[in-house]
């Protein structure tokens, strides 16, 4: 079926476009005073990990920076990303880094999540986001996607996808630790 662009359906599009433009103008106007998504407040969540821990972002970030990693068993690059995160847990955990891996596996693969986690020897908490609530709040549309949340609860950096050797995310994490230690050592 083919329909021309002109005709009765055309006017509503213009109206909708104007509406989106108006909304966008509102956003642009706001952007003068507000930062972009990076440095924006990280959506708060509470969830229960596979080992029964109650996880609240507000509590986790009291210890230090938090990495919220969205992944799935069917996502091949996620395996490397999670393995790297386990290394970071060992390296930065003593300095306060908290990691939460949010599995977005649907019902088909929920039973695969625990074995997968065991196979990769992951020691950080893993959460199953059954109803995609956390995923939607963070607009994590690609797997894997990692969010680095600072102590203040703002998103310090976002990593979409995974490329081994990409240093920008780790550099941002290091800068957070440096900022924390500077703040701790500065006189009040």
């Amino acid at each position: 079926m083919r329909l021309a662009r002109t005709g009765p359906g055309r006017t509503p599009f213009v109206r909708r476009f104007a509406l989106v433009l108006a909304g966008a103008l509102g956003i642009v106007a706001h952007a003068v005073a507000a930062p972009s998504l990076e440095r924006a407040p990280a959506p708060e969540f509470n969830a229960r990990s596979l080992d029964g821990r109650d996880l609240r972002l507000a509590v986790l970030r009291l210890h230090g920076p938090v990495i919220v990693e969205f992944w799935a068993t069917w996502c091949e690059p996620c395996r490397e990303a999670l393995t790297e995160l386990e290394g970071w847990r060992k390296q930065y955990g003593p300095r306060g880094l908290e990691i939460v891996a949010v599995s977005v596996d649907g019902p088909r693969n929920i039973s695969k999540v625990r074995p997968y986690v065991a196979r990769l020897h992951l020691q950080f908490p893993v959460v199953i986001d059954e109803d995609q609530r956390i995923q939607k709040c963070y607009q994590a549309n690609q797997m894997p996607t990692a969010f680095l949340v600072d102590r203040a609860g703002n998103i310090a950096s976002i990593r979409v996808g995974y490329r081994r050797g990409d240093t920008s995310f780790a550099t941002r994490l290091e800068s957070l630790f440096r900022a924390d230690s500077t703040a701790a050592s500065s006189p009040r």
């Binding site: 599009f13 909304g23 649907g106 039973s111 074995p115 995609q132 081994r164």
Partner: protein, 533 residues
Amino acid sequence: MNATARAGGLVVALALACAACATPVQAQLAGSNLLLFQLGNWPPSMPDRGTPDRESFYDRLDVQYVSATVLAGLRFETDRNSDLENEYAGFTQRFVDWHDATGFRLRVGNCTTILGRGLVHRSFELPGVVLEETGFRTRFTPVRDVDGFLAEFERGPVALRAIGGAPSEGGVSLAHEEILGVPRHHGHIAGGQGVLALPRQSHVGAIVMRSPAGIDPATSLPRQHTLGSGFVDLDPLRILGLEGPALPTYFEYAQQDRTFGEWWAFDTRDPTPHALYAGTNLLWSTFTLSLEWKDYSHFRLGTNDPPSLVPEHTEVLLNRTTHVLVADDEEGYQAEASWSPVPWGSVVLNRSRADGANGDRYEEWYAALRALPRGGARVDGGVFYDRGADSTTGITRRDTYGFDVTARWRTRWSAKLDVERQSSERKSFIPATLSIGLTQFEDVHVSLAGTLADVGSVGFAWDRTTDELDPSWDAGRTTALHLFSWNASARISDGNEAVLFLGRRRGGLACTAGTCYFVQPFEGFEARLVSRF
């Protein structure tokens, strides 16, 4: 989208704009955009493809207002093309979601959730996926949602969840509403679940759902089914106080239009509408064993998504031949064992089988070995072998094997090679002999990609098939079909990434997050720009 929904979108849009001006410190407007541009078309083998140099763009814009207690969002989608075919533009999602510290949460507008393991209800979205319909050609983001409300409350050991509204099966775009006048959301569902937490991480729960059951021929009024389900989630070893090995176990049984007393009979005879799912994991050191059982009969509701118990493979050729669950009549199991005897290696074995109506059977054996020497610092890779058959698609035998290897150097450089081969035998109609017979065909997939971290990647893919049912197979072809393509991705700036494609893309089945859909073949140039702001 009807007038009420449009008004709702307008209200949310204005609310977002107002919120932008009055946003407190701990609140933010955030957004993401997907722009998909294509120059080219389906292959000549596809009917009604139009001009070969068709130009089109699809755009999806998501805007969210995020604060400590409120989340409001809008999605705008548009599909435009040079053939002026089935174009549309408009809001396809709008919602307001708020919660407080007492454990209460309410969402109004487009909602998604899962009750139990999805036997009775699961609404969801496939993020990042853009579908294209064949008959009524149009592109859209598939969302199986409910246009209504979602309420949740949790206090102490009790958690309650309720959902109601008009469901959508997520299979059509807004163009159906704008051009054909067919609403995407129709019918009515209402239901909820209650979960009680017990000691030692055990849970029991009950679900009730009313869902559409067609039109009553006597009254011409819509009828409703009543679905009931109960589940238990526990770890017997933890209950016994054993440390070390774990045995998390889940059992759920659902029925339709039966009494509470009848539920306890666990009637699994056909044709009694029922769905039974049981799954357990044995986790012991580096060894894990996953066992699942299913028995579904007349339980394809359109608003549910029971576990399929079919492995979702990352291997390209296996992913596109995944068995699609037939919830009307299917019974079977899946067993998967994995073992990591050394930190640098693991083995996975999977056995799946399902029996359906009329003697239909799907079965599969899968084995994979993965090696990650020295943590994969220089090289990692894996090999796999799969043998399967699926009479629902006429496949009487299918052997697939392959390997992948990734090499890394100078910290930021890497290259990955993926080689797969599949040989199949299918029972089908043979025009030459005008009879049903067996045909053999073969598929090969080879891809090579190089990546420079922080910058981007460049890749090449080659697919070869002798499958005469492939969507790109032109009539009269007597030789193998070859499809070559190049792709590249680049990080333009923080928050902006471009993915380019040039060549011929193979069409067919693809599965993401447990859901399978049809991907259209394509020949030409494609650019995908993903932005976050």
